[in-house]
Symmetry: none
Amino acid sequence: MARPQDPRAKIELLKAAEAVFVEHGLDRAKVEEITARAGRSKGSFYLHFASKEEAFRQIVETLVARLSSCVDDPPPPGSFDLEELFEQQLQRGVETFEFLWVNRGVVGLLLCGGGSASFGYLIEELEQQYQQVIGRWLRWGVAQGIYRKDLDIELISLALAGAYDGLARRVVRQTKRPDLRAMVLEMERFTARAVGTFEYIAQFDCMVRNLERKRKQ
Amino acid sequence: MARPQDPRAKIELLKAAEAVFVEHGLDRAKVEEITARAGRSKGSFYLHFASKEEAFRQIVETLVARLSSCVDDPPPPGSFDLEELFEQQLQRGVETFEFLWVNRGVVGLLLCGGGSASFGYLIEELEQQYQQVIGRWLRWGVAQGIYRKDLDIELISLALAGAYDGLARRVVRQTKRPDLRAMVLEMERFTARAVGTFEYIAQFDCMVRNLERKRKQ
Amino acid sequence: MARPQDPRAKIELLKAAEAVFVEHGLDRAKVEEITARAGRSKGSFYLHFASKEEAFRQIVETLVARLSSCVDDPPPPGSFDLEELFEQQLQRGVETFEFLWVNRGVVGLLLCGGGSASFGYLIEELEQQYQQVIGRWLRWGVAQGIYRKDLDIELISLALAGAYDGLARRVVRQTKRPDLRAMVLEMERFTARAVGTFEYIAQFDCMVRNLERKRKQ
Amino acid sequence: MARPQDPRAKIELLKAAEAVFVEHGLDRAKVEEITARAGRSKGSFYLHFASKEEAFRQIVETLVARLSSCVDDPPPPGSFDLEELFEQQLQRGVETFEFLWVNRGVVGLLLCGGGSASFGYLIEELEQQYQQVIGRWLRWGVAQGIYRKDLDIELISLALAGAYDGLARRVVRQTKRPDLRAMVLEMERFTARAVGTFEYIAQFDCMVRNLERKRKQ
DNA sequence: CATGAATGAGGGTTCATTCAT
DNA sequence: TATGAATGAACCCTCATTCAT
């Protein structure tokens, strides 16, 4: 019977908070600016968040959780269709980068130490997780015979994680939407050449040509 | 403001400031903690720096300037000894990463958005600069016939800059000094495979073998 | 503001308010805690009280009013039965202390400056009133020839009011119900000795013995 | 070499704080008002006190400590000059009440629950301590044969402590300095009559007369 | 009338910066 | 020049009160 809670309130506050955090970082963001942008009173902020940090945490943790689910482990050993798998991974990659692009504000924040010294651990964990998945793919590729046997997995996964990481940083910094598909494809090609056997490189180029042909139809 | 007499004062303050900035970020760093660590008075800080931000700027700009000089453009067209050049670049890369390692505190700060939303432009400029140099090397390599002709220079330079960037981030985060030389060599190998012609890749492996042989003597 | 319908509401709110005020004092008591304890909405509080202070005032003023009626003036000059009078006063005193004990929460609050600097006047007035009644009894006793003629009424009434006051403070602070009758009786004995003539003291002891004999039957 | 700390600062702040706390109680006192009255900046308050509560605690604990030392235990068994002892105790009492009068602001605050629900324990402890000392004097007096043997020490000490307590409350509330000596003397007389044997009461009156005679010379 | 979401004034505390010594 | 005491603007958060439903 009481005034029903405005369902847009929290969403608008989160949106405003996101914008302000992106603009100023956690420490310089003012709760008052957040609420002003959301067109609400200062007090309303505390109806939805226990503190400024709490709102920040909510924003970045949500993002991290979604980014965390953006990578697949390699399939279990057994028969599989390489071309299909490649297409899947490419699709996955594009989706991920699209997600990054759409959320480039907060992602930028997150990649920059979380806007505050105290949230760096989040991105560190995420990057470590990514690097480990890459490591597993590398080992899988070696086992499949498509990647070179002499890879220093530790170093290469570091470099590859770094390459994707750096790419992500650059994407979120753009002002115009880049051709994300081309970008991911190029990264795949890049990776294939860096770690693939000569045979696989040829096979890879062939897969890419097939893919492009399909798309044009 | 006249130059103060005691030259150690500023150095000690900078050292302390660096440590405190690294630990807490610009916004949460307290001038008092800086001066306390430097064993100086709070007032002395303002004899050397106009403000907290100014000290921060000095620290990061100095670092950026030195990092900025860590890359060489490719040599002008004409004859050159590829092996010597490779060795030079390798050497350069190791030195750069050693510098990063030694200054890993501030570099980490810098890579994390400068510890505050307002210094991100510094690292952005630096990364852009690196990417451009990489782009020039790529074009040079293509012109030399050692890199593949079908490279999307824009994308590849982005990816490579990202890879080095990501590697740097991971290095400065380590607690134990990694084998930097192996790391740089691996990155070179990685790059060579990613962008080199098949011929060059073979030549590259050969160069690496020669190099290792020399080192052992 | 029309009288609200639900009469239990106000009672429950007053009970809850009393508890919360006793626990935290006026300033630190939160309206929300009061309504939560009363199982009502925050808004309902303002249907019954104009403000938090108003509720507080209502609680303490009610108490003060009832405490105010706990003392009798001495009887008019003329004949009277001293033993009966003594018994009446003793009874009255016990009832008063029982009332204090039952309401020890709010009484404690009231005696402690009203939980806030702004309600001290209430207790001051009450204590002054008590002191004056005591003064009248003293004068009456002197006139009756049962109290010593050389009493400094002003001072003695001050001391006696203080003694009862202090006793009240101690009673409301107990966790177990003390023997209130013994307490009041002791105070009466104490008073009798302090202000009575030697004759009256003997008479008093006799009255007490009679009383105790009656009670045992 | 730096600006020396103004030695009056803390004292002035304490004085101002005392006044403001007395006026409004802990919760309603504003740090800003304290510093304004002390003619200082708001920040200066925090150079001397960790928090508003801390300043409050300092003020009341100091007072309690001094009040705590205002009572003497009875002398050890053995011979002693009763008149001298009486004179000493009278003197002691007068000094105590003079101290209360001089500090009537804070004492009033203290007696009113410490101005906040959370400091009540201080006065409770103090009052308990006083009551115990009174109990020891009573036992001593009984042992000396000057107090009646049938005293309910527990109750009487409660009543006496209450009487002094109530007196103190009334004293600190006065606007004009009362005749403290007369007051204490009357309390002594009051006590003597309440608990003394008939013999002692006579002796007491005699001591008082001697004392008054001495004073007039 | 009853509800509880929304409001926003208010105040404690921090800390960069100034400045008297 | 060097010091560190003093300053006061800034800002988070609380909570009494209002009011739309």
